[in-house]
Subunit: 262 residues, 2 copies
Amino acid sequence: MTSRFDRDTALVPGDAGIGVDISPAWDIGVRPNGGYLLALVVRAMREAAGFPDPVTVTGHYLRPPTQGAARVEVETVRRGGRHGTASARLIAGGEECLRVLGTFGDLAAADGPSQPLPPAPDVPSPEDCPRLEEVPGWQVIPRFYDQIDARIAEFGSADGTVGRITGWLRFSDGRPPDADSLLLFADGLPPAVLAVTRAGWVPTVELTIHVRARPAAGWLLASFSTRFLVGGYLEEDGELWDSDGRLVALSRQLALVRGGVL
Amino acid sequence: MTSRFDRDTALVPGDAGIGVDISPAWDIGVRPNGGYLLALVVRAMREAAGFPDPVTVTGHYLRPPTQGAARVEVETVRRGGRHGTASARLIAGGEECLRVLGTFGDLAAADGPSQPLPPAPDVPSPEDCPRLEEVPGWQVIPRFYDQIDARIAEFGSADGTVGRITGWLRFSDGRPPDADSLLLFADGLPPAVLAVTRAGWVPTVELTIHVRARPAAGWLLASFSTRFLVGGYLEEDGELWDSDGRLVALSRQLALVRGGVL
């Protein structure tokens, strides 16, 4: 049986680009989750890039897309011996909604030096953390969390942050995580800045994700922090760890707080 | 008198794109500094983006450029009410060397909420820190540091990092920093990973910079850290603070350690 994520990121190559279908299943409120859109576009870029793993991808969010049929136009920027770079445009409702620039590589062939990593955050196991919908204060649970099982380990302001949220994530239908789905999971928890503001909307301007390793099967541990909120702009820095305790992705987004009060 | 930075990032609009001149004055070894190239391209993108400040720019480094005459081809991706997005290609020696995607805005008009910031690192004043060339262990000082006055406050491994380097930066010719030059300064200190490896070359794969405020005149304080070195890939996270103690930029790059041993 095909997983919901694979079904909703399926590609149909054609004359006018790669056909995709923007599913409402991954909505946050009335807009598709930014990580879902990025994963969809990055899947369409892989062949043009010529390498399996999206080692660094950046999306600039131009406008919310209409749902349903859309297309991705992909350009190969460069293919080298170690990396391939591609650019892509997501076009929905006749308008470009997302521009992505990505460099792909082969993480299985990465043979350079390593240093012992800082360990993953020390939090209770997923079974001992409440589901997102059980955490007081979340009045409306977006549809996205029908597809994603999220367990919240920490949510608040601490350690020099404006806000931090840490939790466990997995697909509700049991699909194991892979490099592509890290792009989704890197935007998979509510914004950390909601620890200090009642903003209803924290639109992403730009999201960059470094995939550092292919994840093992099982839960992912995700931690997102915002340190600097200035004039309504904020960064949200994320780390994703796999069930073996390895760092598998780093993310950073620039976002805006809209319509909120502190 | 025009500053060296302004002279070496001057633009000559023409039929085949915007003419630029890649100066050897900003070389690190035999290659131009990545931040210099990014600043050069971003200056060429501003008119197409239609807003003054590069709030988030990402460069993917495809190959080292030849020096001398080159051109930048710029595409407007979208102009909205608050932001404008543009894409650009730096072409030197007939080959694309750098692809940049950037969203511009007007930081002077940013009117959203702010939170008290974590303070700048507490380090000795620039006058009490050694110049880069006075720090033991740097055998060869790149030409770049003829243009940039760098004072090193901290260099080593501490606080859960593989490496960290903190220092003061300014233009040697007295030019005050501005939003554009933050793109240069965000790549303005030797790689933090050199605290643990003798790698001669730490090539940047991708560099993303968020400009969060226009800097005040005077010294910039820059701090760069690497936490995760895996299979030869590393991230380097940077913070830039102005002389008023305000955070003015965040940077993150994905880079490789080449030819080094731990």
